[in-house]
């Protein structure tokens, strides 16, 4: 698909209508798109990790990752590895194509969030429940705890910034501290709400493009800042947010917020009703509200990195919100007219002639000359796709990126249960046997 064509500059870049549902077998708990939005990883509450090919809306892989619900997912930079964290105290790194678990890290408590470093897949930022956040280096297994503002306050949220140069942490008093990586010098800090009793920070999210981040606070206000402003303000600074987003009418708390792929819009999921709201980042005006089924809670929301598509989880299924698909045939050629019914076309005298007999001879010769020249047509160089390349990406990354997971078509043989039972009974006297293959998993 030609990404430039899709990014229609004349219409708004946010979704408008619901576009279907992705239903995994297990109930979904958390989702993440990979860097180019071709794969969607769904972490379920029974500990399974399910990969969906987003283009074809097809399940491509299931990995049984944990025994407890998966709390968070993070794709590595080249898309080959995925980091999962769960309430069973572990953090695991899986290779996406082979499904092998490469690293397991055990923590003293449930792990709420784990994140790959945006540039370096060897560095992880892990946020366990009730303990300090740590930076883990898989090369050598070093664990460096992130310094805490308040030694008693373990209720913190952490995140890498877009490039991975800093770690932003927010605590329950509304204090944001920014540490540089990897030496953890305090680079800047400020309090949301300007020094008075501030509300706890519930999450920190960064825009995939551009230089902004948002803070979702317990006082139900989403504050959008520019990283530049914050860093310039320094320690105990007082940077101004570029916009404050809140629901003045209903005072809804926001469960999860995210930026759009181009960083222009902010999407937030309401904690009470089943509602998704989209605001323009610069102005802070509400541009769209999506209503879902009543009575179902929203659990997670994420924006596609390249296209105006939003995926949200509610009731255990992933709902997709996208733009209305309009057929625009006249865009292909200027004098392409759409007809309502068949029209008899009357062609002009020399319209479909191969050679134009009326043209002057010398003009014809010129045409021929131009046609005959052998033009060097370059068919081997691949232009990097503008839409995919980030401003500071290196060239080599794209080639290495995992866009799709290869799978073989699943041929489910008709298992004759009696036959299987007989076989098992016959072999049953030997030790060391597992019968997981013939087990069934059924939803009541």
């Amino acid at each position: 698909m030609n990404l430039e064509l899709l990014k229609e500059s004349f219409c708004e870049n946010y979704p408008e209508v619901p576009d279907g549902v992705i239903d995994s077998v297990s109930l979904a708990g958390t989702i993440q798109f990979n860097k180019f939005g071709t794969l969607l990883a769904v972490g379920c509450i029974d500990g399974r990790l399910i990969f969906w090919d987003f283009m074809t809306r097809c399940m491509v892989k299931i990995i049984v990752a944990h025994v407890h619900p998966i709390q968070s997912l993070s794709w590595s930079r080249n898309g080959h590895k995925i980091l999962t964290s769960s309430t069973d105290h572990t953090v695991k790194i899986y290779d996406v194509v082979s499904g092998d678990c490469e690293y397991v890290y055990r923590f003293p408590s449930a792990v709420l969030r784990a994140q790959f470093h945006p540039r370096n897949p060897k560095i992880l930022l892990v946020n366990p429940f009730g303990h300090a956040a740590v930076l883990v280096n898989t090369d050598g297994n070093h664990k460096i705890p992130i310094p805490l503002e308040d030694e008693r306050d373990f209720n913190i949220v952490t995140s890498f910034d877009r490039r991975g140069d800093h770690v932003y942490t927010g605590n329950s008093k509304g204090k944001i501290s920014i540490y540089s990586v990897p030496d953890f010098f305090l680079v800047a800090s400020f309090k949301t709400g300007g020094g008075l009793c501030s509300a706890a920070v519930k999450s920190v999210e960064f825009a995939p493009r551009g230089d902004c981040f948002l803070l979702n606070s317990a006082d139900r206000i989403i504050r959008v800042y520019k990283c530049e402003d914050v860093l310039r303000a320094g320690i105990e600074g007082n940077p101004e947010p570029i916009s404050k987003i809140q629901d003045l009418v209903g005072k809804t708390a926001w469960k999860k917020c995210c930026f759009s792929g181009d960083g222009e819009y902010v999407c937030a999921a309401s904690a009470k009703q089943h509602q998704l709201k989209i605001w323009d980042k610069g102005m802070g005006n509400l541009v769209k509200i999506f209503h879902g089924n009543k009575g179902v809670q929203l659990i997670d929301v994420v924006w596609h990195p390249l296209r105006p598509i939003v995926a949200s989880i509610s009731g255990g299924v992933v709902s997709i919100w996208a733009q209305r698909a309009v057929e625009n045939w006249s865009a292909f050629q200027p004098n392409f007219k759409e007809l309502d019914e068949n029209v008899e076309y009357e062609e002009k005298e020399s319209e479909f002639d191969v050679e134009d007999e009326d043209k002057e001879k010398f003009e014809r010769k010129k045409e021929d000359a131009v046609d005959d020249d052998e033009l060097e047509v370059d068919v081997t160089t691949c232009e990097p796709i503008g839409g995919y390349v980030c401003s500071d990406d290196e060239e080599g990354d794209e080639k290495d990126y995992l866009m799709f997971i290869p799978i073989a078509p699943d041929v489910i043989p008709d298992v004759d249960e009696n036959l299987v039972a007989k076989q098992e009974a016959a072999a049953g006297t030997k030790g060391h046997q597992r019968r997981k293959k013939s087990s069934k998993c059924v939803h009541k």
Binding site: I45, H68, R435
Partner: protein
């Protein structure tokens, strides 16, 4: 078989004498089959005179042919395909073949097969031994690798079992300890304020009861799914699966035993029990000195740690079993491939071509020698038949 088709394609007029042969085009089997056919044809021609009467009588019985003359090849052709009698395929046999068969009797068929094997097999065996088989080497490597992995996994499983037993002992020991307020290291525990949203149900829960809520939520959703199978799991050591037999459906519950919400009762803790979660810096170290000393009721950070640690080991066991299964399958595949390589059928059906001048030359020499031998044989037989009583017409070769 290509051979019979070839025979069918030719009529008597096209019969090629032995000297006119197809050109050698480097394909071994074709050469052999050609040579074979002609060998067949020639020997038949030779044999016919002596067995003439027997053939004639038989045909009389079958066709009801009154004049006693044998039908010429053309007349036979004209009879129509369905009524046409073929000669038995065995070289030295001049009987008519049974209907729907190439042979007049099983005996001839077996003789022909034996002759075929004896003629072709030695040459093929030579060919086979000439070069090493790449697939064989690959299979050997795979087999070795599978064996190594199986061995390693078996050792790993034993280690896991040991770990599990030591963990169980540790849990047992810790559960006997009593809560003593003086031993609690003043950790300055953080005030657990604020709320978190549960990942399963989406509700906001206080941080104090977050882990308990997660566990309850998880059990609730697990009860909504059944996971069972026909057979019981039989393993050495601690049982992995719940294996609770459901009387109605006759199936065993296949959840992990420690986690099964339906069939495993939650252990009740004593009033004074302490949390006991290992707190040493090495997460796998089980040190009685470095444990969480809060009472079970107080501690909010380490709920259910026993279950989770046990289950971690169980899950690793299950993964190891799955891998063992796949490895055994691979091993079986490799051994099957190796045992059925270079067997009779394979050798007869397939042949390797060597695009090497020396070897082709050698082959040609061998073949020409064989040809000469056959020609000499014929000559001898013909001279013998000349001496036989006159009136016996040389029976035309019957070929398809």
């Amino acid at each position: 078989m290509g051979r019979s088709k070839g025979r069918g394609g030719r009529s008597s007029s096209d019969k090629k004498p032995s000297t006119h042969r197809k050109t050698v085009d480097g394909s071994g089997s074709e050469e052999y089959s050609d040579w074979f056919e002609e060998h067949l044809e020639e020997s038949k021609r030779a044999e016919k005179p002596s067995r003439e009467s027997a053939t004639v009588t038989k045909r009389k019985e079958r066709d009801g042919n009154q004049n006693g003359k044998k039908l010429s090849q053309e007349e036979k052709d004209n009879l129509g395909f369905s009524e046409e009698l073929r000669q038995c395929y065995w070289i030295h046999c001049v009987n008519a073949a049974r209907p729907n068969s190439k042979y007049c009797s099983d005996d001839c068929g077996i003789k022909l097969a034996k002759h075929r094997i004896l003629t072709l097999l030695p040459g093929r065996l030579e060919e086979w031994k000439r070069t090493p088989c790449v697939a064989e080497q690959k299979n050997k490597q795979e087999l070795e690798r599978a064996h190594r992995e199986i061995k390693r996994l078996a050792g790993f499983l034993e280690e896991l079992e040991k770990r599990r037993l030591s963990l169980d002992a540790f849990i047992e020991a810790v559960s006997r300890l009593d809560y003593r307020a003086d031993l609690v290291v003043a950790d300055d525990l953080p005030e657990e304020d604020g709320t978190l949203s549960c990942v399963s149900c989406g509700q906001e829960t206080s941080r104090k009861s977050y882990l308990k809520h997660i566990e309850r939520c998880y059990n609730k959703f697990e009860l909504g799914m059944t996971f069972n199978s026909h057979a019981q799991t039989v393993v050495n050591g601690t049982p992995i699966h719940c294996d609770f037999l459901n009387e109605k459906t006759k199936r065993y519950c296949k959840r992990l035993k420690v986690l099964c919400p339906e069939h495993t009762k939650q252990p009740k803790h004593r009033h004074n029990a302490i949390c006991g979660s290992p707190m040493s810096s090495d997460p796998y170290e089980l040190d009685m000195k470095k444990i969480c000393r809060l009472s079970k009721k107080q501690c909010n950070r380490h709920n259910f740690w026993e279950k989770l640690r046990q289950v971690e080991i169980d899950v690793q066991k299950v993964e190891a079993w799955i891998k063992l299964d796949t490895l055994k399958g691979e091993e079986q595949k490799s051994t099957e491939a190796m045992t059925s390589r270079g067997n009779l059928l394979g050798l007869l059906l397939h042949s390797t071509t060597y695009h090497d001048d020396v070897q082709i030359q050698m082959k040609n020499e061998n073949l020409s020698k064989a040809r000469d031998e056959v020609v000499n044989d014929r000559k001898m037989e013909l001279t013998l038949s000349d001496l036989a009583p006159a009136g016996n017409n040389v029976r035309e070769k019957n070929c398809y």
